[in-house]
Amino acid sequence: MSTEPPFDKDNGTTPPSRRKILTASTIALGGAGACALAAPFLESLEGPGADLRKAESDDKAAIVEVDLSDLKRGDHKQIKWKNWPVFIQYRTKDMIAALKEPALKALLRDPDSKIRQQPKDAVNDYRSINPDYAILIGICTHLGCIPNFRDVKGYAHKGGFFCPCHGSQFDNAGRVLKDMPAPYNLPVPPARFIKPTILRLGESAAEPHFSMNDIQQI
């Protein structure tokens, strides 16, 4: 400590003493240790069953195959995929035709599915990989209630979804009407048909890496 290195005189500052460096590094190391210790404690706040939930969602991320051969036109079924309710409806010809009607589209907030609520291959008037089927995740984009099957007013027998919680109305393709509490269309899961009536959920032909985390809101 008796001699100062010459470079200090050049810039006119004194170097930190060894004690200062040791103190700072001790505090840094201790702080890092405290953070490491905090991790398991914060993690535990996820609560019991967090591991199960995770395992389940990982498992369900794996593929689910659904047999649709038991559906007649106009019928629908509800299945669970990744812990989400998925609505599948075999559309009538009327329903399919209605989805292209300009009068209906004029009522919608996002008629052309510009907002990312679906894989690419569902960006069309039917929001589906196959116009014959509606395949939607039944979680309202407002606050997460599960909508019912209910026609859009003035479009009897053309299909649609209605959320009972705050009254959001969606059409048969899951597109939300204007001035509804729900801001986005219903999410569409990645899916493809491996046989005419066998649907494979969780796999998108157009976008192999599609993930539900990519969409705007679920």
């Binding site: 004690r19 103190t23 001790t26 991790a39 398991p40 404690f41 993690e43 535990s44 706040l45 996820e46 609560g47 019991p48 069953g49 967090a50 591991d51 199960l52």
Partner: protein, 394 residues
């Protein structure tokens, strides 16, 4: 070697608003420390362990259910399904062992270096109070998982209380909220365990307050070359305490990750069954000496009385040994006494953990005899002789 006297230059630095920092400087940063050795770092280790206990305990309490039908399952859920729950519980269980190891060494240091003597009687008494508090807390905590050992350990202790003449049964009824160990009792154990942690913090504050009123003992004062120089607490003892706490935490970590079988007994992995006692009931090692005492005395009440009296000896210590000399290193007879006492204590730990046999019961009796004769014969006699010879010299 003498330290630079850092005087707090507070008026200059931060003005009068921060004058409360004077106490901080006086009692922490600039607190004058005699030349104490590594044994004086155990208090810091205990504080660190207690901090971890409170933290892990709080997080365990979030998921625990004090109900005889759900408690065991709650523990299983914590171990298996709460993220990192197994680690938090291991920290809490190993913490009990680490606290008692450090606590017994801390008390042993106090015995050897005469830290119990005037003017530090209150430091000693608050410390013993803390030990008793930790014992009760640890016992109550051990009941909570409602495993086989929890249940039968609690049964043994409650029966010991029941043996107190006249008041035993009503007292037990009063404590458990009913004649047997059930939901009400378990809920009380939980509340007791949870609350005593905070009571301990208050008494620790008192303990440190008492210590800072008089300062730590100087272990060199009785030596031929006493060193009277003091150093400020910071940085000399903050660094020393930090190193000690690091070593302590390393041992703690090894216990958690490499020796898990040492911190939880097999039998406690089975849910409590009031119809089947496990083959052997052994207490946790830190309560083993007192368990051995209960077994060494053929009468239930006698055992309880002896265990109680053995602790009373510690409380009475400042008045049993009134010699002005502190450090046992320079008191040959007292040195012998403490060596005998430590041996007896360790023997009782082993005796309490072993399954009962004539051999261990007799060894416990010898250890008990040593325990009481050290306090009642060796110390008063040595102290009398030291005061007497001192009187002759002066």
């Amino acid at each position: 070697m003498s330290p630079p006297p850092h005087k707090p230059d507070l008026e200059h630095q931060s003005g009068q608003r921060l004058s409360f920092l004077y106490s901080f400087y006086k009692h922490f940063s600039h607190y004058p420390m005699p030349p104490v050795n590594w044994f004086w770092c155990l208090g810091a280790c205990l504080l660190a362990a207690l901090g971890l206990m409170m933290l892990s305990g709080l997080f365990l309490a979030i998921n625990y259910v004090p109900d005889t039908h759900q408690a065991f399952q709650a523990i299983v859920t914590i171990e298996r399904h709460v993220p990192s729950g197994w680690l938090i519980r291991a920290i809490h269980m190993a913490g009990a062992t680490m606290i008692f190891a450090a606590l017994y060494l801390h008390i042993g240091r106090g015995l050897w270096y005469g830290s119990y003597k005037a003017p530090r009687e209150f430091v000693w008494l608050t410390g013993l109070l803390l030990m008793a508090l930790f014992m009760v807390t640890a016992f109550a905590g051990y009941v909570l998982p409602w495993g086989q050992m929890s249940y039968w350990g609690a049964t043994v202790i409650t029966h010991a209380i029941e043996s107190i003449p006249f008041i035993g049964k009503p007292l037990l009824n009063f404590l458990l909220g009913g004649p047997e160990l059930g939901d009400i009792a378990l809920r009380r154990f939980f509340i007791l365990h949870f609350t005593l942690g905070f009571v301990a913090v208050a008494i620790i504050a008192l303990h440190i307050l008492c210590l800072h009123a008089v300062g730590p003992t100087n272990p060199t004062l009785d030596s031929p070359q006493p060193k009277r120089v003091t150093r400020p607490f910071h940085p000399f003892y903050t660094i020393k305490d930090n190193i000690a706490v690091c070593v302590f935490l390393i041992i703690y970590t090894i216990l958690i990750f490499y020796l898990p079988h040492l911190i939880e007994k097999q039998a406690n992995l089975l849910p409590a069954n009031s119809l089947k006692t496990p083959d052997t009931i052994s207490p946790e090692w830190y309560l083993a000496p007192f368990f051995a005492m209960l077994r060494a005395v053929p009468s239930q009440l006698g055992g309880l009385a002896i265990a109680f009296a053995s602790l009373l000896m510690l409380f009475a210590l400042p008045w049993l040994d009134r010699s002005p000399k502190h450090n046992a290193t320079y008191r040959p007879l007292v040195r012998l006494g403490w060596i005998l006492f430590f041996t007896a204590f360790l023997t009782l730990i082993v005796a309490g953990l072993e399954p009962p046999s004539t051999w261990w019961i007799w060894l416990s009796r010898v250890a008990l005899l040593i325990w009481f004769s050290v306090f009642l014969v060796i110390l008063p006699y040595a102290s009398f002789r030291e005061r007497h010879s001192k009187g002759e010299k002066s």
